[in-house]
Symmetry: C2
Subunit: 685 residues, 2 copies
């Protein structure tokens, strides 16, 4: 039975939620008030955490997938002793507070992943669960369950409607991730009103179809024991993830309870007064936390600290018995890379064969998995095209399938791009793993919602993106990215790489792995590319560098990936016409832009016009070049060389344009300034 | 029982598919060979089409959601008398052929929607089914089922794994779209091998959870009668969409049948020979079509032509009895807009109130639905925030729900952005409807895969995108688009609009609706914006125009949306410092770029530096301005005015930057050329 103290605590959470939203005059009180019992039961009776050491590695992970309800999470963190003060609650949704409008990883201690964009949290949770399952399989020993935490998720109707959640949950069922426990806030209300207007599917049946363990709590408002029992039953299930369908009343206690008016707006004043009276609180008092609740959560926090202490003892004993494993796990928990790992990166010279850069990527991955056991990932059902599976790889699969085991590092994501990247976000957030995804560059767009959150959350996720242009040929314009590079380059804190050869491919992986707080999308060609003269890993790590220099140039051509060798050929044609051409290879604009001004101006100096060449939309090249040769619209279906020829993107076509640009600026007879020059960025000639 | 002629025809399709892929040495023979029986039965016994008039309005729509199997569709079109010749089949996947690597709307007669990117076709089909249900409800009369076609879909495992399909299929179940019949090619093979590696959900149970009618054919390779019976049963079901789980063998007949080797590569030579022998074909002959098959399909085509003739008669009689309805339906079938509809667009003057442009959008929609009965759409569960539902709107719902009816024009899409836009693509492809979607601008990214296909397919889909910047305030960076505008501007044939006031909002809708072959994303503010002096619908339809001119300017500021009024204020501050500033409002770069050079240079002439101001990533402004003021990274959570102040995006902050730019160019003392100047585009000063 729920004690009186439980009731007081739950009502404290409810009134606090109403007060916080009321003070900020912005936010969502409804779900926090409805989910307060579940939060309270989970926190005080199940969740393993250590609020004084929020990064304790074997803590349970809690994800609020319905991130708009974050008042609830901030309150729970506050009550449990995390660094979220009452003043922080009072500055909810205010500039530079640690309690922003939706939970953000890195902003608030105790927030495991960034949520709010619906469907992401539950998908991140699948990644957190994969990470636990994998690390447990790798490091646990008989009697030493060093890594055995659960991942708990709250989610609402909105999350369940999103396709990304369908993808991730279907995969979670396939993988039988029993360490994942989701609590579905079945309150029948969305912003548009009753779920009857758009969401009438049978959620329980759907999750059964995915292979989940489905439980049900009829009275999530008051029946705390049923909630506890359901969570306990979920913990005991060892063969499938669990979803608990928890019937709740949105805005429980409010005059508007059960309706959508209470979803995303503060309670009216009279409503707030009656709420507090109803729950036995002083209506004149705000932000009240009764002593009983303070005490209860203090005890909870102490319980958590003890659990951490016990784990520390266990780990100490583990370290004595398994010193190598303990040292390796410590390294991974601390996020340190193995000494000298980068020596595994292959280097190339011009005598090496011309191959597709997807093949170069395969070679690199194959080398890296040997030295980086934390590298783990897979493809969205394009393994044979993305070339992401190394020889001897074990699949990450439930052992009962006979297809792999949880210690396996290759993930079969299925045709689920959005879920894949959201899952990788969760794996990266867990720590100790460097996750990678793979698909065609064009279909990274399907994952746009998750890619931006990798970047916003500062998560090192590597995205292998092969078939990166019209160079994929026959599949045609439905599969040929044109706009994708521009989009990715505009995402803050995201590195979009498009290496031109083997050395640049190694540089791509080098920087992507060293960038501990930045995701990368790495575009690789299907078609063969020669190994360039003058390329090197070191030069390419600058993002952009001079590949072919010449004194007193008439023209600089800047290009990326598979077009760089075409430009090298074009320069030879231009030379025959007496035009001296420098070639700049620019595998990553984001990284190039982060170099110092002097270096950047040495690559793209004033003096000669700069022509950019890339088989994409030219959008965005205006800041790096004076004129731009690219695609005006979509690609075409045909053998790749004929597609390039159709768009005149050949050495001859490039040379023709180079000539035109040189003639234009000669005729103008004015000084030509570097395109990098900017008054606002203080870049002067 | 299947006749011998059926067998011959099916084997003709199979050998043709193998021959086509073999000749092109590229493509996917497996699914066409496996799905040949279903295609044959559907085409010859169920599908209503008129190959000599592929646009016959009441034809059944066929969608190949697994678009990589398009050899099958091209063969069916060829056999049925469409303009797809044997030579066209022979130039499969060759440059400029009408048989590209994946089916493209507008390229090949008889292709209803562009497919290949997985999950899109089935979602388009939901839109096609909505369109039929709606137009039938509006125009059909007792005894006159003028609009009563079915939509048939083939789809594979890949489509079912994609989240977009989950979203659309869940909604289709909710809407009880009985006119939709999907045939699932359950061949247990994906690119990565057996579906056992990643896709083990119970598909039948999942579709039951969505409320679909689920049928099952155990032997899809040989049991033609079971296929026919299933389709007939589906047609008779009037309460739900149907999915037929059809067990097939991928690459049926090949030595590699049942394996993934036959998925995406040509058959080996010996395999091709044994295939033809096995099916009683001459192994030395390629592209053979036996006379029996030619005759059978000729008869099928004639049957179809008769159906069209009968429909024409019915429509004639309908037109006599219901002349107004017939004339209106004719107008909509022909895609003509009603005379003078554009007069409904509101105009504004500076005395009108400052309101959020989402509110201006609401006003415009409210006016337009009166004069444009083809305007139909809704929101992804953000109706109250997007302000897309007009007073008196009826919801598009199955009448049994009591919440609306199929004649309703307001769609409750649920939290399903990707499905929503893909559904709108289907509705637009049906014809007679101008669909609109709505969500926050940030979440248009979730629909990226469908948005690019609107553009590639030349479909007029209007996307209302409110909460378009940091101006949404408290929700914070998880909801504030920074990179989204750059992405959308880089998509060919897509108009990204960001109007600054009421007149520009009217212009946005005017151009979006007049652009019959171009989708639009229309970004609207949450925060209030004043009505600008000098704005007009006519000027704004140019995409960019001079809002405030001045002789001998020192500076031009170009801006969009909610930042334009800030720039107007900044210009006043600059004037106090003696700096003469022109203001250019640029609501749509795509449309501005399509103006003639003379006009463009009149807006952004040489002489004075141009500074762009926009609360987004500055990526892409390099082609329109010399210096750029925007966001370096993500937004922030807080009241909107404080968020703007945090990033110094205020009249003062803009003026400060304007001053700096002017000083820089004065100091340099060189002529300042228009940023539009391009040697390659022949834009000279």
């Amino acid at each position: 039975m729920a004690s009186n103290n439980d009731l007081i605590a739950v009502n404290t959470i409810r009134t606090l939620a109403a007060d916080v939203v009321s003070k900020s005059n912005s936010g969502h009180p409804g779900a926090p008030m409805g989910m307060a019992p579940a939060a309270h039961v989970l926190w005080t009776r199940h969740l393993n955490f250590s609020s004084k050491n929020p990064k304790w590695y074997n803590r349970d992970r809690f994800v609020l997938s319905n991130g708009h309800a974050c008042v609830l999470q901030y309150i729970m963190l506050h009550l449990s002793g995390y660094k979220v003060s009452m003043d922080d609650l009072k500055s909810f949704r205010q500039i530079d507070s640690i309690t922003p409008g939706h939970p953000e990883l890195g902003v608030t201690e105790g927030i495991e992943v960034t949520t709010g964009p619906l469907g992401q949290g539950i998908s991140n949770a699948v990644g957190l669960a994969i990470a636990q399952a994998h690390l447990g399989a790798v490091f646990n020993k008989d009697g030493y369950n060093i890594i055995d935490n659960h991942t708990y998720v709250f989610l609402g109707d909105g999350c369940l409607q999103e396709g990304v959640a369908s993808e991730a949950c279907s995969l979670a069922g396939h993988l039988k991730l029993a360490n994942l426990i989701a609590i579905y806030d079945d309150n029948k209300i969305t912003i548009d009103g009753d779920t009857a207007v758009s969401f009438t599917e049978d959620v329980e049946l759907r999750f059964k179809s995915y292979g989940w363990n489905v439980l049900h709590v009829e009275n999530g408002d008051e029946d705390y024991e049923a909630i506890e029992k359901a969570i306990s039953a979920a913990q005991k299930n060892s063969s499938a993830p669990t979803i608990i369908n928890l019937k709740t009343t949105i805005g429980y206690g409010s005059l508007k309870a059960g309706g959508h008016d209470v979803h995303g707006a503060p309670l009216k004043k009279d409503d707030l007064i009656q709420l507090k009276k109803k729950f036995g609180f002083n209506p004149d008092e705000t932000f009240a936390v009764p002593q009983e609740t303070t005490d209860l959560y203090k005890a909870t926090a102490e319980k958590g600290a003890k659990k951490e202490a016990a784990w520390n003892d266990l780990f100490k004993s583990y370290a004595e018995k398994y010193p190598l494993e303990a040292s390796e796990l410590t390294r991974r928990m601390e996020g340190r890379l193995p000494e000298g790992w980068e020596k595994a990166l292959p280097t190339y010279s011009t005598s090496d064969a011309a191959v597709g850069s997807r093949k170069l990527s395969e070679t690199t991955i194959t080398k890296l998995v040997e030295v980086l056991p934390e590298l783990m990932g897979g493809s969205a059902d394009l393994t044979g095209s993305n070339l992401t599976r190394w020889k001897g790889a074990d699949d990450f699969q439930h052992p009962s399938t006979g297809l792999g085991h949880y210690g396996g590092r290759y993930i079969r994501f299925g045709v689920r791009e959005h879920g894949m990247v959201a899952i990788c976000n969760g794996m990266a957030a867990y720590g100790g793993i460097i996750p990678f995804s793979a698909t065609f560059l064009n279909f990274v767009s399907y994952a746009a919602g998750a890619v931006r959150l990798s970047a916003l959350s500062h998560l090192r996720v590597l995205n292998v993106a092969t078939h990166d242009s019209i160079g994929l040929g026959e599949d045609g314009p439905t599969h040929q990215p044109v706009e994708t590079a521009a989009w990715l380059r505009a995402v803050p804190n995201l590195a979009f790489w498009r290496p031109a050869d083997g050395n640049e491919t190694s540089a791509t992986y080098l920087v992507a792995i060293l960038s501990q707080h930045t995701p990368s999308v790495m575009a690789f060609s299907r078609q063969n590319l020669p190994q360039l003269q003058n390329s090197s890993i070191e030069k390419a790590t600058k993002g952009g560098y001079v590949l072919d220099d010449i004194e007193n140039p008439d023209l600089t051509i800047v290009s990326t990936g598979s077009e760089v060798p075409l430009c090298v050929e074009a320069a030879k044609l231009l030379k025959e016409k007496g035009i001296k051409t420098r070639i700049v290879s620019m595998p990553c604009i984001e990284v190039f832009n982060s170099q110092d001004t002097k270096y950047k101006l040495s690559v793209l100096p004033s003096g000669a016009p700069v022509l950019s060449v890339e088989a994409y939309s030219t959008f965005g090249w205006g800041s790096l070049s004076h004129d731009h040769f690219g695609l005006k619209a979509w690609g075409a279906s045909g053998p790749f060389d004929k597609v390039y020829a159709k768009f005149d993107m050949t050495p001859e076509g490039i040379a023709k344009r180079g000539e035109k640009v040189v003639a234009f600026y000669k005729k103008r007879g004015q000084p030509v300034f570097s395109p990098l020059i900017s008054a606002l960025d203080d870049i002067t000639e």
